[in-house]
C-alpha cells in the first residue's frame, strides 16, 4: 500500500487528553516535573533543617526549625518522600511529628512511642494501607 493511500482521520476531539489541537492521539512520556521539583525542594530543606538544629537534643528545637516547618507546609506532596526514608533508611529522620501534623493520623501504638524503628514500621504500614507508593 502506498503512503498516499493511507487515510489519516483526525481523532475526535473528546479522545484527546487536553484538547491540545494536535490532530492525532499521541503517546507522550510525561516527565513528572512537579515530583522532581518537590523532591529537590525537600532535599534542600532537609539539609538546611539538619544544619539548623545541629547538635541540639531538644525535640522542640528540632521540630520548630524553620526548614522543618516549611517541609510540613509542603503538605501531602512530601509524604512519599518521607515514607521512602522511613522504609529504606537504616536510621530515619525525625519525621513523626510532621507525619501526624500532615495526615492527622496516629498509627503508632502507645508502647512503641519513641522507638524509631517500630514507629517507622507502623507508619510504612499505614502508608501502604492508604495507597501511598514511593
Amino acid at each position: 500500500m502506498a503512503l498516499s493511500e493511507i487515510q489519516f482521520a483526525p481523532a475526535p476531539l473528546q479522545q484527546l487528553p487536553h484538547a491540545s489541537g494536535f490532530p492525532y492521539p499521541v503517546s507522550v512520556s510525561v516527565i513528572p516535573y512537579d515530583s522532581l521539583d518537590v523532591e529537590y525542594q525537600f532535599n534542600q530543606l532537609r539539609s538546611k533543617w539538619h544544619a539548623e538544629y545541629g547538635s541540639s537534643s531538644s525535640a522542640r528545637v528540632i521540630i520548630s526549625a524553620p526548614s522543618y516547618r516549611r517541609m510540613v507546609f509542603m503538605g501531602k506532596r512530601i509524604l512519599p518522600l518521607i515514607f521512602r526514608d522511613l522504609d529504606q533508611s537504616p536510621e530515619p529522620d525525625y519525621w513523626f511529628a510532621a507525619l501526624k501534623e500532615i495526615t492527622n493520623a496516629d498509627p503508632v501504638s502507645q508502647s512503641d512511642r519513641g522507638n524509631m524503628r517500630a514507629m517507622a514500621k507502623a507508619w510504612v504500614k499505614w502508608a501502604k494501607t492508604n495507597g501511598y507508593t514511593w
Binding site: S55, S56, M116
Partner: protein, 190 residues
C-alpha cells in the same frame, strides 16, 4: 574512633582538640536516642516531653521544664544532690538548661569521674569536666542528681548480653545490605 565529631566547632566552644583534647568520641552518630535517654541509660528511644515521636515516661509532668526532667530522673532512682563531685557508691547526672530554665541537655558521670554526653543526633563523647559542653547551645548545668550504684542483677546482665548480640546483628545486617546494594553504608549505632 575519629578525633573530630560531626558537630560544629562553635556549638561547643569549651571542647578542646588535638593533644590537649578534653574529650573523646565513644560512639557513632545516631538519632536512635538523645542525651536525656543516654543519661538515663536508655539507648532504644529519644526522650523529650510533649513531642510526637519522642518517648516520655507516663505519669509525670509533660511540661518542658526542669521540674519535669527531675521527675523523669526520679523515676530512674535519682535524687537531687549538691554537686557533680565523684562520690563513692553513687552515679550522677547533670541537667543543663538555658538561662530561662528551658532544659537542653543531660550528662552522666562515669565511674572514673569523667562525664558522658550524647550530643544531639551526633556522637556520644566522654569529657573530662561536666561543663565542657556548656555554651550557647546547651546553656549550663542547673541541677545535679545522684543514685546509688547497685550491682547488676542476673536479669540485667542477661538483658545487656542480648542487647549486645542484637546490636551486632543489626550492624552486620546494614553492612551486608549496603554491600549487596552497592551503596555507602549509613551510620547505625544502637
Amino acid at each position: 574512633m575519629a578525633t573530630r565529631g560531626s558537630w560544629q566547632l562553635h556549638e561547643f566552644p569549651h571542647l578542646t582538640y588535638g593533644n590537649n583534647a578534653n574529650h573523646k568520641i565513644t560512639s557513632r552518630k545516631t538519632k536512635r536516642y538523645n542525651c536525656i535517654a543516654w543519661a538515663g541509660d536508655d539507648i532504644e528511644r529519644p526522650w523529650w516531653p510533649q513531642i510526637d515521636g519522642w518517648y516520655w515516661p507516663s505519669g509525670i509532668s509533660e511540661q518542658e521544664d526542669i521540674p519535669a526532667f527531675i521527675q523523669a530522673f526520679r523515676l530512674l532512682g535519682y535524687a537531687v544532690c549538691a554537686d557533680g563531685s565523684l562520690e563513692d557508691g553513687f552515679e550522677k547526672v547533670a541537667l543543663f538548661a538555658e538561662p530561662d530554665g528551658t532544659p537542653t541537655h543531660a550528662a552522666r558521670q562515669l565511674r572514673n569521674g569523667k562525664w558522658t554526653s550524647k550530643l544531639g543526633p551526633n556522637e556520644d563523647i566522654q569529657h573530662d569536666d561536666v561543663r565542657d559542653v556548656r555554651g550557647q547551645l546547651y546553656g549550663d548545668v542547673c541541677c545535679y542528681m545522684r543514685r546509688a550504684i547497685t550491682p547488676l542483677s542476673l536479669h540485667q546482665r542477661i538483658s545487656r548480653f542480648f542487647r549486645c548480640i542484637r546490636v551486632l546483628c543489626k550492624e552486620s545486617y546494614w553492612t551486608i545490605r549496603a554491600f549487596v546494594k552497592g551503596v555507602p553504608r549509613k551510620n547505625v549505632f544502637s
